[in-house]
Amino acid sequence: MNCAHTGEEIAAAIERAIDESGIGKDKVHLVIRDAASSMKKACRLMGVESWDCFLHKVNLSVEEGVRVAGVSEAISKAKSIAQFFNSSSHTVEVST
């Protein structure tokens, strides 16, 4: 899309896509979108039912969850260890 991502523009783009693909708007029962207000507006303008992506909700909720005390520290620690071993400069041969 080479224009502002407003509800109007998005709606027009989706309607074009539905037309070009030959699906037809009457066969669109439900549009799954993210929770962005421009997407909600676009679906409202098109007059189609729409709902937020459930996995997107799950993803956002877990991201809030892993920020709690204790958990975020454990994750940073894991990250720093993975980073240390994945950077080749530290790699050493260990014979077992």
Binding site: I32, G65, V71, A74, K77, A78, S80, A82, F85, H90
Partner: protein, 178 residues
């Protein structure tokens, strides 16, 4: 010793943090050994590993459900069963440590806030109620009543044949299809 690589965590998706934790736990023995001989290697205590294990355990069902639902073959009928399953997995357990209690609660609250008023979305209830894998039993008790009422309403909107018999309606429709 089995050779495993460590998974790097990236910001955009929480499941990369999950896989990173998993790989650190799997390799914890080797990492601790390495920390002895390599100067700059970050240390990994036994307590660290225990916390990581508890976090992974909480997130495992979430990861499994996400994996299942992201399949193209999945349908919207799985959303409510997945939601209720996740909520059950995130219930507080008496043995949970502080960080796990907070983690579960934060995720559960986040989900609940985002699912407020889901009963109003008739396609969620109807899809689950009509899916032979789930039917009404997969819904929360209060939702079953709602789903039944919605179904009855949808059926009453269909143009029924003269005798009002549902079987003959279905038969007449299938004869058109084939």
């Amino acid at each position: 010793m089995k050779q495993l690589s460590l998974v790097q965590s990236v910001e955009t998706r929480w499941n990369s943090a999950y896989y990173c934790l998993e790989s650190i736990i799997q390799n914890s023995g080797a990492i601790r050994l390495a920390a002895v001989s390599i100067k700059k290697c970050p240390t990994l205590s036994e307590v660290d590993v225990e916390v990581m294990e508890r976090v992974v355990e909480v997130l495992r069902p979430v990861e499994r459900v996400s994996k299942l639902l992201e399949s193209r073959a999945e349908a919207i009928s799985s959303v409510l069963p997945a939601y209720h399953t996740l909520k059950r997995c995130l219930l507080r357990d008496e043995l949970d440590g502080d960080e796990v209690v907070e983690l579960k609660e934060a995720v559960r609250k986040g989900l609940d806030n985002r699912m407020v008023d889901y009963v109003k979305e008739k396609f969620l209830l109807l899809a689950t109620a009509l899916d032979p894998r789930y039917k009404l039993q997969a819904l929360a008790v209060d939702d079953r009543v709602m789903a039944r009422a919605m179904l009855q309403f949808e059926l009453s909107r269909e143009e029924l044949p003269q005798d009002g018999n549902l079987t003959s309606l279905l038969c007449s429709q299938s004869s058109i299809n084939y």
